[in-house]
Amino acid sequence: MSGVQLFWLAPLLPLAIFVLLAVGLARYGRLAAGLAVAAMAGSTLISIAGLVDAAQGKHALVSLPWLTVGGRQLLLGLELNALSALVATLVSLVGLIVFLYAVSYMAQDAYKGRFFAQLSLFTGSMLTLVFAADLITLFIAWELVGLCSYLLIGFWFERPGVPMAASKAFFLTRLADLALLASVLLLIGATGSGRIDMVLAASTQGKIASGLLLAIALLAFTGAAGKSAQVPFQGWLPDAMLGPTPVSALLHSATMVAAGVFLVARLYPLFQAAGPSLQVVAWIGVLTSLLGGAAALVESDLKRTLAYSTLSQIGLMFVGLGSGSLLAGVLLLLAQALYKATLFLAAGAVDHALDGTAFARMGGLAKRMPLTAIAFALSAAALAGLPVTLAFPPKDPVLAAAWQANTALFIAALLASWLTALYSARAFGLVFLGTSSGPAQEAHEAQPGLLVPQLAMAALIPLGLLADAALLGSPLSRLLGERIPDVPLVTALALALAVAGVAAGLWARQVWPRFVVWPVLEPVTKLFTGELGFKTLYRVITQLGFWIIGWLGTFDRVIFDTLTRSLVRGVLFVVRACAGIDRRALDAALRDLGAGILAFSQRVRALQTGRIENYLLAVFVWGLGVIAIAVLATIVR
């Protein structure tokens, strides 16, 4: 199997399964699950083969023409390069494990087929996005990912609050997608090509005016911020927790939120060329990171804590990218996907055991669910920044890059990193340590179908970090175009802070044993759970949206409806006129003709008396007439 030749199958396999399920196979839940898992396994193998080829410097492109606009041909294409192969391998691998987990997790759900259809579309779209060779394909896949996240968050749409959460995710990301669409159109307009490599070449060679380039970069980042839930679009992510846990695991690690980071990484040369855009990226990232970390610290629900932690981790990725290190951002993306997916799978197992994810119901679960606790502990340690392997903790390159870029940024990122350690230790402590109470006392270890995938994923964390380390000197690192930022002082500082954070987190749990943290900080807690007034902002935006929609509706009613109505009236008038002509002229003519013939027949009928004498008389008269004519003819002659 050659990855260079077959890589395009990786996104197409899940998409094909989606089509199969959508046309009717979704009815058979077990078959649907089996097909989806098989397709994902195929995608994973192909992606790994592609990664092996890409690591050797190989490159491939497949495309088909879509349409020609104003002499410009737009292509739909897929491309295999180092970055796409790396991220695709991650997406399909995490996808495969999550699919396997979902087989058990959703076993009792009546709509398993629909779930796997949407999940297949989700990963297929994400793989398409990753492999996209041109901006059009990228945008289509981008929108599909958004749509799928809406469908999957709203999967249990009959539960209270779920439709609202799904709509929130949809609207907020869609708002940001408008900016991405604008930037895509501007780029195609400015360079005359949708091909990403050509666009990047044009932007680095200074063929686009610097002001325009900055606008394009900022618009593209707005789109990425929406997808990755960065300030000010972060509000949808915590609410997205209402979806099934496998969806959260996928959405928070490799598919949805990773798309924003991937977009910035994919267009990285453009951002580098576009002046101060990378600083915007970095500062937005660090702001989100601090906000998410603080919110995670005061959250009282396990899954929502993990959601806020995703905010903070994605923020740190943007810090890495914004500080000028592509590799730092991408490495954190890879590592985060692995440990965040594991955390969610473990949280799902806890959810199944306790039938709820509020911290108040938990405690002391380490004794009841030891294997889940191990998986959670391993991934939480990786999240906190502890060296769970011989390799470095993944946040170090980001911090080192920030150190090299800007001191204020470095300090903020360090603080965010410390918050990460604090809340991961707190979450672990609240769930697994201490004494059991309530439903936690009857909890049992998760069933094998839920346990094996999370342990496999947890095992990937050290392996993945090892792979990261091993790849540093490899062609892949060179392909991504740089050396890893490495400052020993920063590494030491980060490690010390992580240890201190974990210790503080565990200690805080001891001092205030239940889930309430720092009562003194109650106002701050409220501030963070209220998302710093962003809810008001969202409400204003939503109102604005409704207002615009209402205005458009009025416009539609007044102008278009009137137009259509008059058009219909005109047509009706013509039709009625035609009908009148038909009735009064054509029908009448036929009727009169028939009546005339009938009347004539009635008259003629009177001639037929039926009396033989009359007929004979007529014969004689006729005979006399003939004779008279003959006689006359003789005389005339």
Partner: protein, 104 residues
């Protein structure tokens, strides 16, 4: 060649024919109509014989014609009588006026 001439025979023939015509048109009884037809045929025979006697005594075509007419008259009488006998049996009378079924 004494006695009445051709014109006299023709006048008698025309009179006979006229009587026949009036009989056919005016008589109600089917028998009388048949008789009147017979009179008209005889008028024609008389005319033919008169023409043979006075115009071409050597040519016997007219005599052949007369014999054929006599035969036809006999046949016609037989058929007509049979027909009207059936009509009488069916309807109880043989009045020509009653035979108006074709009008329906």
């Amino acid at each position: 060649m004494n006695g009445p001439g051709l014109v006299a025979y023709l006048i008698v023939g025309a009179l006979l024919f006229g009587i026949g015509v009036v009989g056919v048109l005016s008589q109600r009884s089917a028998l009388m109509v048949l008789m009147s037809i017979e009179i008209m045929l005889n008028a024609a025979i008389l005319t033919l014989v008169a023409f043979w006697r006075f115009v071409g005594p050597g040519n016997f075509d007219a005599q052949v014609f007369v014999i054929i007419i006599v035969t036809i008259a006999a046949v016609e009488m037989a058929a007509g009588l049979g027909l009207f006998l059936l009509v009488f049996r069916q309807r109880g009378n043989a009045s020509i006026d009653a035979l108006k079924d074709l009008k329906r």
